[in-house]
């Protein structure tokens, strides 16, 4: 297993949002998380990056790095965790005062302390990989949503994370721009990048994911291979959710 999460709990005041989530992600595999709005998917991903601090839970990497959230983790443990994982946000969150290239270079230069010339070459490579080699000197406001999200992916990849986290990366996009982002993600999966993807794109999940988790009310209702969960779910709640996603209105 690349990462293992055990019994993760998170509450906001009286609201128990995550009530004991387990997750195993083998190296090089893709886990898709689906579930209705408000079920805790975003909170779960944010916990995996310590943007939210879980109340309880164990988080373990294959190299022995381990966090026990029942104690407050130390600052340097949190930094280490974040350097092991890259996050792609629903709303991109690019740095508006920096060009696409500067956005991608920021992590390696500032966090890893690498030389600018070295980083530049890799950053250009990453931007070319997501199809934005020509746009690297533009600022975010000069890019379309799909282009911004691809810069977001390149920025997250730049610190060479073991694990990539995607929180509905295409749900803020116009329909015609969804494909370009998904195809970048498909490419990453093919290269063996370990990924956890929250998504409503069921076709994408079916094609790309090795494992699908359906979350509702802060617990995992059902999980398994995509064909099983998406085509022949056992739980009524899963069926109902899939039905609503496939036949909106």
């Amino acid at each position: 297993m690349q990462i293992q999460v055990k019994n993760l709990h998170k509450s906001f005041g009286d609201l128990d949002v995550l009530r004991g989530i387990d997750l195993d992600v083998p190296k090089g595999s893709v886990v898709a998380i689906i579930g209705p709005s408000g079920s805790g998917k975003t909170t779960f991903l944010r916990c995996l990056n310590a943007l939210e601090m879980p109340n309880q839970g164990l988080y373990q990497f294959s190299d022995g790095f381990k966090l026990d959230f029942s104690k407050q983790p130390k600052k340097n443990e949190i930094l280490k965790l974040r350097r092991k994982s890259g996050m792609v946000f629903q709303s991109y969150n690019l740095f508006p005062h920096k060009t696409a290239l500067e956005n991608v270079m920021e992590g390696p230069v500032i966090v890893q302390g690498l030389k600018k010339e070295e980083v530049r070459e890799k950053a250009v490579f990453l931007l070319e990989k997501v199809g934005l080699g020509e746009k690297m000197h533009l600022h975010p406001h000069q890019l379309s949503g799909g282009q911004q999200q691809r810069v977001g992916i390149a920025r997250a990849l730049a610190i060479q994370p073991e694990l990539m986290l995607f929180d509905e990366p295409t749900s803020a996009l116009d329909p015609e721009l969804v494909g370009e982002v998904l195809s970048v993600m498909r490419e990453l999966a093919k290269e063996g990048q370990t990924m956890v993807v929250v998504t409503h794109e069921l076709k994408f999940a079916e094609e790309v994911a090795d494992h699908v988790m359906f979350i509702d009310g802060g617990v995992v209702v059902e999980q398994g291979p995509p064909k099983e969960i998406l085509k022949a779910p056992k739980e009524a709640r899963t069926k109902q959710f899939l039905d609503r996603v496939l036949n909106p209105s």
Partner: protein, 236 residues
């Protein structure tokens, strides 16, 4: 002397509107006072004030109860008391504690404290105006709080704070005239000195007013240009 005052007051209307001889002999010393004291006082106070303001804003945002408490009391005390009283405390009051300062450094201290308090609220609001997602984006690529603050947040907050900070700067230029009351020989004090000799109050004070106006007008033009330049690239 009383006669001179009378003639000036009563017969003033019959005099030519502007005493050009006085104008040319007074403008030199006034501009001199401006260059020697008004401008340096403004620049020193604004620079130190901004540093103090940033520290105060960060203390208030830190979530540390003691730090933010101190910052809160400081801002409240400065905003709740007249600037003139603050100047008097530093210049006329501190000697009672054995701290005697020259007029100019006294004025720099009082004005810096004043700018520090007001500008800290501006900086705090500008920092808060940067979307939370920008902090998080910094954190997720592994940046620390100070790195994110310096590289991601401050540059964006700066653009938001330029208009209100320019206003503070322009106010400061005018407020430095209060330093005349603690014997700093700045622009307005010069005009007072000449007026005390010549009794031509109206002309001298209007001349002083026009000089302030010119400086502030130029500054507002500069402000407009900076704002236009920085208008781009602000996170929506």
């Amino acid at each position: 002397m009383a006669k001179m005052f009378l003639s000036n007051f009563i017969l003033g209307a019959a005099d030519p509107l502007v005493d050009w001889e006085l104008f040319w002999s007074s403008i030199g010393p006034m501009v001199g006072g401006g260059i020697k004291n008004t401008i340096p006082l403004t620049l020193f106070a604004f620079t130190f004030g901004l540093i103090l303001a940033l520290l105060t804003a960060l203390a208030r945002l830190s979530g540390n109860k003691i730090l933010s408490g101190i910052a809160r009391v400081y801002v409240s005390a400065i905003r709740g008391t007249p600037l003139l009283v603050q100047l008097f405390i530093v210049f006329y009051g501190l000697p009672d504690l054995g701290i005697t300062l020259e007029p100019f450094p006294s004025a720099v201290i009082a004005f810096s404290l004043n700018v520090g308090a007001y500008a800290s609220e501006i900086l705090r609001a500008s920092i808060l105006s940067v979307p939370k997602g920008q902090w998080e984006a910094g954190y997720t690529i592994g940046m620390t709080y100070p790195q994110t603050l310096r590289r991601i947040i401050i540059p964006q907050a700066t653009r938001v704070s330029i208009p209100p900070l320019s206003n503070s700067f322009i106010s400061l230029v005018k407020d430095t005239s209060l330093a005349s009351q603690i014997l700093v020989i700045e622009l307005f004090r010069k005009s007072q000195e000449i007026a005390a000799r010549t009794y031509d109050f109206l002309q001298l004070y209007i001349t002083a007013a026009i000089l302030y106006w010119i400086v502030c007008f130029v500054l507002s033009l500069v402000q407009g240009r900076i704002e236009k330049k920085l208008d781009r690239y602000v996170a929506k």
